[in-house]
Symmetry: C2
């Protein structure tokens, strides 16, 4: 989902009454970011509190490339990384992930080896190979074993867009919450649904109900489900004891628009880019009785903050043996404070841009290559800002492109290099960047090697279902990341 | 102001708490339009309930041109037009206009000759000639006489943007409301402020307070003023007896961005164009005790509806001797009904586009000419939709460009001409257009002739102030309208 997909963020159809109400009962974050314009690295950052370039969720196969975890990826979340659920266990939490894991699908990367106690969902994205049996369909796991595959056992009708998955994920969430409440155990639920990722889907009840088409149907079903989860917490009497945060892992994929793509509001471009449309996210914190209702925060936030904030809520300290990028948002959430901190925008191991206060400096710009663009791959449809949305990798490291996101949230008017304002702002930003780069210790890149042999041919449990497929011979190669 | 300038419509700084609260206490209109992408025709439409092509506020000097009422315009609102205040008088209303009139500045066009009982403000836009005494500065009237001129007596500091005018307009409004309440007289107040029109201004208290720069300061002052007006109505105990409507006369002028231009959210282009950014407007209806709080309406609305709706509120019928384009919105406002009606998008006397339901068909597209564009006149900065934002006038009358505004509010993806959806939608739209054109009787164009001699050289009252200027010899010419 994108920043602009919620009614409260100005979606012209205003079809998210539950999320809008969540905002009116909680706190809306207007300046909240993901750690990467792509799914896997963003999720790895959320669960580790660290930038992908530190936790290994990046590639060095080519300069400034977005990479993720398709079925043939060899890498995944390193054992050396400490994930939020691992740490929460120390405070007695039961941890469950429902939905997309995306931090590697080989046995050593299984979420229950990284702190989760329960899992219902899939290790990869539900796109491809779409029921072409020459390659394995994505498996769906319950805990340690697969219980079926997408398309075969968990249907998505690619023609109508009908699928019941969000309802299944919702029921899993409600059941888990009920169970935890009954046993009086604290819990962490990571509800990682995927209905708004192409191929977009919705259940029958929601199909055709949105002004926005199938994508809007999916948003409406998610919105409805979130309303049900919040009401469930209230009904069980634990809403004042449960911190809930809603956000997204990257900007709306405009390449899938208008039928399967969402909205980034007035921000530039979308998923895959380091413009605001690629990384500014809808974000709402909800905790009745603690967070003042109707709050609006300009705190610069990041999905990595959920790591540190959650630890703080559980009375735990973040690990001290490594650099943690996430900050504790509680002072912002509970007391409306503003904590000074930068936001970094990466592609691979290249810092493309940085935001400090209301200024954003681009050190590199790249939408995607001419070659891809000429084939119709367009992350900025209908948008063309001269010298900004570039189809060659443009280096601006000596004289960054600078935008004032208050006056110009759409990144259309770079400040004049000769202006006093430019000089003043860059002086401040340069210090932040210098410090960031000087202390940066990149992790071992996990997204460099691909091998068809590691695909989900025979996940654990496949034999019981008669769903094991024959694994081809190993043939590891550098993954190809086009943008 | 533009659709996207309000927090409630997703402005990323969310700096309009009073308008946002007005929406939460009243009804937000998401699909509300102006009658023209330019000021004067839009205001003429608002006050007559008729399209500019009927009430004469258009030009035929060249094809599909935007025209308005600069100081050298010869025309104005014809006597034959019936204005809202003229009609409201029959129901005992006292009518006041505060701010910009813009329906002609020659004596016969004076607002008090067209139904208003009081006036404080200026007949034209406050831009130009900016204190260049070779041409008259815009006068400010109190009722029948000028009491000074912009820049000379009503300062706008073009360097700092400081001006006290919104505060003066606010005080005028509060005083008028108090007076009417005291005398128990029903009233119509047309509060037509101009602080967000370039040159944008704000008073000292608001200067530098917005994340958005000077434009945001102006928006904040307007927002604050509206909050004060609503509170005043409540304090006087007449809020449940007063219908308040907030809207704008055209989309944000992106040509003035980022320093003096606002936001049209995710809509395409801005003021001067017949894309959504030029004509979709922020709109809020407020009437405590009558309008259900927190309502959201998808009713297709238009500023012309304020004419018919206001008459309805006063128990009056609209004139039956002429075509009225405005509809009575009360069923939508009070009962949440949806009334089927089209929206027409005109430039001059050319119907450029029409909206029927969620479909919008463009019969002509034109951003502006190449000649202007190459000089830096850009109504769609950073936006370029191939075949849609055209710099030549493109005719699509045989095969209109069709958009689904639910899936594609940004008008980026025209539907395929060959699709069933296109065929079905165009069948319905064609009937509407045919009927509209068959019954169209254009008024006499008022915006064709310009003459320096008619400028505000010696408005009534100038002699008392020693501010009469020497009128040059009459030299009427066709006005030049470049876009």
């Amino acid at each position: 989902m994108g920043w602009g997909d919620l009614g409260v963020f100005g979606e012209p159809s205003k079809e998210t009454p539950n999320l809008d109400q969540m905002a009116s009962e909680g706190m809306l974050f207007l300046d909240f970011y993901t750690a990467n314009p792509l799914c896997s690295p963003s999720r790895a950052a959320l669960l580790t509190g660290r930038l992908p370039v530190r936790n290994g969720f990046y590639t060095t196969n080519a300069h400034a490339r977005n990479a993720y975890t398709p079925q043939d990826i060899v890498g995944g979340i390193p054992d050396s990384e400490l994930l939020l659920p691992e740490l929460l266990k120390k405070a007695g939490y039961t941890n469950k992930i429902i939905g997309k894991w995306h931090l590697g699908h080989r046995p050593q990367f299984h979420p229950m080896k990284h702190g989760f106690d329960e899992w219902f969902g899939s290790p990869n994205c539900h796109f491809g190979p779409f029921d072409n049996r020459a390659l394995p369909n994505i498996p769906v796991y319950r805990d340690w074993e697969m219980i079926g595959r997408y398309y075969e056992d968990f249907k998505i009708d690619l023609k109508t867009g009908e699928a019941n998955l969000t309802q299944i994920y919702l029921q899993e969430a409600l059941d888990f919450i009920s169970k935890q409440q009954a046993s009086q155990q604290p819990f962490f639920l990571y509800w990682a649904i995927d209905a708004t990722h192409a191929p977009v889907y919705a259940s029958k009840h929601f199909l055709g109900t949105s002004q926005r088409g199938l994508y809007g149907d999916a948003v409406r079903e998610i919105d409805d489900s979130i309303g049900k989860i919040l009401k469930h917490l209230q009904k069980l009497g634990i809403s004042e004891n449960t911190f809930v945060f809603f956000t997204s892992d990257n900007g709306a994929a405009l390449i899938s628009a208008p039928k399967q793509g969402g909205s980034n509001g007035r921000f530039l471009c979308g998923k895959q880019t380091t413009f605001e449309g690629g990384m500014r996210e809808p974000a709402i914190a909800w905790w009745p009785g603690h967070i003042p209702a109707g709050g609006v925060s300009h705190q610069l936030g990041n999905v990595m903050d959920l790591f540190t904030t959650s630890l703080s809520l559980a009375g735990l300290q973040p690990p001290s043996d490594r650099q943690i990028d996430g900050i504790d948002l509680l002072p912002a959430v509970l007391q409306g404070k503003l904590i000074d901190r930068p936001i970094f925008y990466y592609r691979g191991n290249e810092m493309m841009a940085v935001r400090v206060g209301l200024y954003k400096a681009h050190y590199w710009t790249w939408s995607n290559s001419w070659e891809e663009y000429s084939k119709g791959v367009d992350f900025c449809p209908g948008q063309n800002v001269s010298g900004v949305t570039t189809h060659t990798q443009e280096e601006h490291t000596t004289l960054p492109l600078l935008f004032h996101l208050g006056r110009d949230p759409g990144e259309k008017y770079p400040l004049s290099f000769a202006s006093d304002e430019y000089q003043r702002a860059m002086e401040q930003i340069s210090v932040v960047v210098q410090q960031h780069k000087a202390t940066m210790v990149p992790g071992e890149p996990q997204l460099n090697v691909c091998d068809k042999a590691v695909m989900n041919w025979s996940p654990p449990g496949c034999e019981k279902l008669g769903k094991c497929l024959k694994q081809p011979k190993s043939d590891p190669k550098k993954c190809f990341w086009p943008h």
